[in-house]
Symmetry: C2
Subunit: 306 residues, 2 copies
């Protein structure tokens, strides 16, 4: 296989990092992979299941001597971890991350990156509703997008190596500007997640009225909403707090449109509803044509990515 780095360090051992490890091993992309997680239980689990070649008891120990250090912690913790590992980073090494928000990560991590070390932020658009060190699997990134968000003037070789790693893990890689990334993700992921969380919360309140029927008869869409709303609470708290402006902007537009449709229902304007629903149906076809989903029926028993 094609080794890209001699040593890779994964800081934070949840779904994303554990899937990276298995995907790196599958393709032989690194000589050694070290790992660190803040919780001793997670480190014990990792050692037990053979996650990483070596589990270290501090982030600095894992990062020391690594050619690539990937920060796989919640967005709100990135700055603190960068501060811890900054002093031990090897000259010429690359630091990257997997955060769902990029502007905030760049602002909190960059000050801790020493001269001579490259920082190339990244965001793999993949996930499941599960989290933790045992939730990873080698195929998670196959045919999913990974967006690289290098600052202007980044070292071309550092960017090329990171691209080779992600492509070796199965992903399709593109580059994007940080602010643009945060707006696109607010539309495609962050606002939909908050909406799903909200709808599931409403149903939970109503469960006291309808007993367990809301769960028992959870047709799609609600079932799909619960899947989205089952994602890791810490990760999503940080996403909303750190991509605040774009998320609130999209939610504002969403509320406007929702009010317009509510009024159409109240006034019985069937034509407006029909036209709206016809328009949205066409977007679905675009996504299937773009290869980001299939339209084969599986009776609602499928699973989702974040």
């Amino acid at each position: 296989m094609n080794q890209v780095y001699d040593r890779v360090a994964l800081i934070g051992l949840g779904l994303i990092a554990s899937s990276m490890f298995w995907a790196i091993k599958r393709a032989g992309l690194a000589g050694e992979v070290t790992g660190y997680a803040r919780s001793p239980e997670t480190r014990d689990t990792a050692r037990r299941i053979g996650l990483c070649d070596r589990i270290c008891d501090s982030a600095a120990e894992a990062a020391e001597g690594a050619d690539l250090v990937v920060l796989c912690v919640p967005v709100g913790a990135m700055g603190k971890v960068a501060q811890e590992i900054g002093p031990v980073l090897k000259p010429g090494a690359t630091v990257s991350d997997v955060g769902s928000v990029k502007r905030h990560v760049i602002e909190s991590v960059s000050p801790h990156i020493p001269e001579g070390v490259h920082f190339v932020p990244a965001h793999p658009l993949a996930g499941t509703e599960h989290s933790g060190p045992e939730s990873g699997f080698a195929e998670l990134y196959d045919n999913r997008w990974c967006l690289l968000v290098p600052a202007e003037g980044s070292d071309p070789q550092a960017v090329a190596n990171l691209r080779a790693l992600w492509e070796g893990m199965g992903a399709n890689v593109e580059e994007m500007d940080a602010d643009h990334h945060d707006l696109v993700l607010a539309v495609t992921s962050h606002a939909p997640h908050l909406i799903a969380y909200t709808m599931v919360g409403v149903a939970d309140d109503l469960r006291r009225v309808t007993d367990s029927e809301v769960i028992k008869y959870s047709a799609a869409g609600f079932r799909d909403f619960t899947r989205i709303a089952a994602s890791d609470p810490t990760m999503w708290r940080d996403v909303f707090l750190t991509n605040k402006d774009a998320t609130l902007e999209i939610l504002g537009r969403f509320t406007e449109e929702l009010f317009a449709l509510q009024r159409a229902i109240r006034t019985g304007d069937g034509e407006q509803l029909f036209d709206y629903f016809t328009r949205t149906r066409a977007i679905r076809r675009g996504i299937i044509e773009a290869g980001q989903d299939t339209d084969a029926p599986d009776f609602g028993r499928g699973k989702t990515a974040q």
Copy 2:
């Protein structure tokens, strides 16, 4: 196999009716199945693919002599179809439907049911994002719920036969009061669909800003929302117009909660967000335990039911 009816008539030949036909055939539940669709093209397609034993050129012709007539048309068209077939219904026959709203269907269909004919409304909680006579398949109802909504004092044998038919098609059957049905479905299906339609509409507006990136990088939730928002526009227009009060009630609660979460984002109240997301995650576990979904990852490439 166990034949339940000598002759079944399916009025309207979309996803639900065509799946019923294949499921009825799979289990030998009826001697003959007649079918009718308003559009000549749909009738031609049905004849070409062998959908129904006999395709008729009027609803009355299909219903005449049938032991069970199932109205599989959009909720807003049920009354008109009932009026057309009322005069030819066989004494002792049963009329049923598959509408997603029950109170409105009962009010619009009941006046056209003659003395001596039984009306037992039903609602199978199953579907895909596809519609039309070619979208059906025999397995659609396997292990899905079908809710029967008989009026008080309904003929027990008529209800028992309809239950046997749905169980024979693979469904789990329960009985429910019409108003309660409409509230539960507003929570689990109708409000989530309107919300998904809205979010996809917002993204469509923004597509002009972000070109095709909203589609290209459509992570879940957005991808899941587009799947929900791809359902049949006529069917959903009628659902919202005929389950207006319950849907608007749920949407009102939804907007209240969404505003509270938006404020938490704006003020940076991470604790409130974390607690909310932790609560909704537990609901997901309830749904998996209730057998209405699985938690096996399939990388977001799965499909959904309505």
